[in-house]
Subunit: 237 residues, 2 copies
DNA sequence: CTAGCTCAGTTGGTTAGAGCAGCTGACTCT
DNA sequence: AGAGTCAGCTGCTCTAACCAACTGAGCTAG
């Protein structure tokens, strides 16, 4: 029945064509509308909130959620962390997922990416070099922006969101479990090669550049620490 | 605070290295353990259940969930349906996501897929033909199995799950909104071409075969019905 | 007259206690 | 020895009350 409740609220959103950000009935209204107790309404809303379908603001109201990939990131992150601590190579699998998808997609960029995007990518690589020189490390935000900008050229916002979700999940787990510094200079070089390869229109070169980039991360990942070598669990998210 | 509760339960799973299927403390136990009321415990569990992290069985107990991609499918499905009814081309975007990823991945299969997998794929295509002849349509299960088997050859279970999740979401939305029959004979031919192309080791041919397959679906999708042309909402999932 | 404060009302957050419903396992009767 | 039954655990739902965050109208001070 609780399952049914969630579906009814979803149906309500669909039926009323509510866009993201629209306000939903209040809890008492939903109680009467659905003929259940407040408690049940709240449990259903909590579940929908966890799926990003609904957004709850204390003292203000309940709204249709942004329908982002945030819940997927959450789930993927937890799944990976849990697997890691059970001795699985879940983090490596997540990296390989990204590698497979990104090497597969970079070829589609050839002849499709705009000059403006390429210029933006150049700027991002420059920023990586700057950060490497001044702070000794490339900030995660810059790396994230690079990958997001790169695949934005494919013209599919959903695809972009999914890619960002994979990035987010991987990065969150990596910083928690393997707080290892990259060689920031290499990072800049590898990203620049990706941009140059895409600009040159050479599909194979672009794929190789992406593969090399990921290969580097993978090496850093699998080299030193076995998954079970983490005695005091730093997980507290 | 409720947010915090979920994190504490997650932490409990991590700390105790609980595998999928392991039993969690009962609700009263969690009440005492976390120092909150039963209601709050339940809301937290409901949210975790929605994310697939926890599995609740009435009258039996609470268990660590299978950590599958089911919640992601749920979210993606709803997002797509909601977008569709608001006049967006969300279903097309989802299809393009699949097309982009699958055309990107099929090249990686070359020289990596085993003979056994190829044989299985042959059998699946044969079954498609049989179904087309006897029932007039290829069953969704067969199509799903084909795509799952194909990308299983990449040797990354996570990747396989993600691909299946995309397939599931797309299929669920499509059957709800565009209950259109494919020409089953064409379906068989296109799938067979994908298998043959992969077997031949010709990357470009494989990519073209996949692209053609998706192009066919896309055509069927965008041809007849504008999104707004659905007056009586059949959505009741 | 305006800027700022205060307070009442609305909304979600939390707690408590009671009873309902599904499942298991041991006990009992045949 | 086997099948039926019942006690107990488990999660599910409801009611009722109060707490906490936010808004907005009205008041007060400048």
């Amino acid at each position: 029945m609780a399952r049914d409740l969630q579906e009814q609220i979803k149906k309500l959103i669909i039926d009323r064509r509510l866009p993201s950000g629209a306000s939903l009935p209040t809890e008492p209204e939903l109680m009467e509308l659905l003929g259940v107790s407040r408690n049940s309404v709240r449990e259903a809303l909590k579940a929908l909130q966890a799926m990003g379908i609904v957004e709850i603001r204390h003292g203000f109201g309940t709204y249709v959620g942004p329908m982002s990939m945030a819940p997927m990131i959450e789930g993927l992150t937890f799944r990976t962390v849990a697997g890691h601590y059970r001795g699985e190579d879940s983090l490596l699998q997540l990296l390989e997922l990204r590698e497979a998808v990104e090497t597969g997609l970079v070829g589609r960029l050839i002849g499709r990416v705009t000059e403006a995007d390429l210029a933006e990518l150049d700027a991002l690589v420059d920023r990586m070099d700057t950060e490497a020189a001044t702070e000794g490390a490339v900030s995660p935000a810059t790396d994230r922006a690079f990958h997001a900008t790169l695949y934005r050229g494919l013209g599919n916002p959903l695809l972009g969101e999914v890619m960002e979700a994979f990035w987010d999940a991987f990065h969150r787990v990596r910083t928690d479990l393997v707080p290892r510094a990259h060689d920031p200079k290499v990072t800049g070089i590898q990203h620049r090669e990706i941009v140059d390869a895409v600009r040159s229109g050479d599909t194979l070169r672009a794929e190789r550049a992406v593969r090399e980039h990921f290969g580097d991360i993978r090496e850093r990942l699998s080299a030193p620490s076995a998954p079970t070598a983490a005695p005091h669990l730093p997980y507290d998210r």
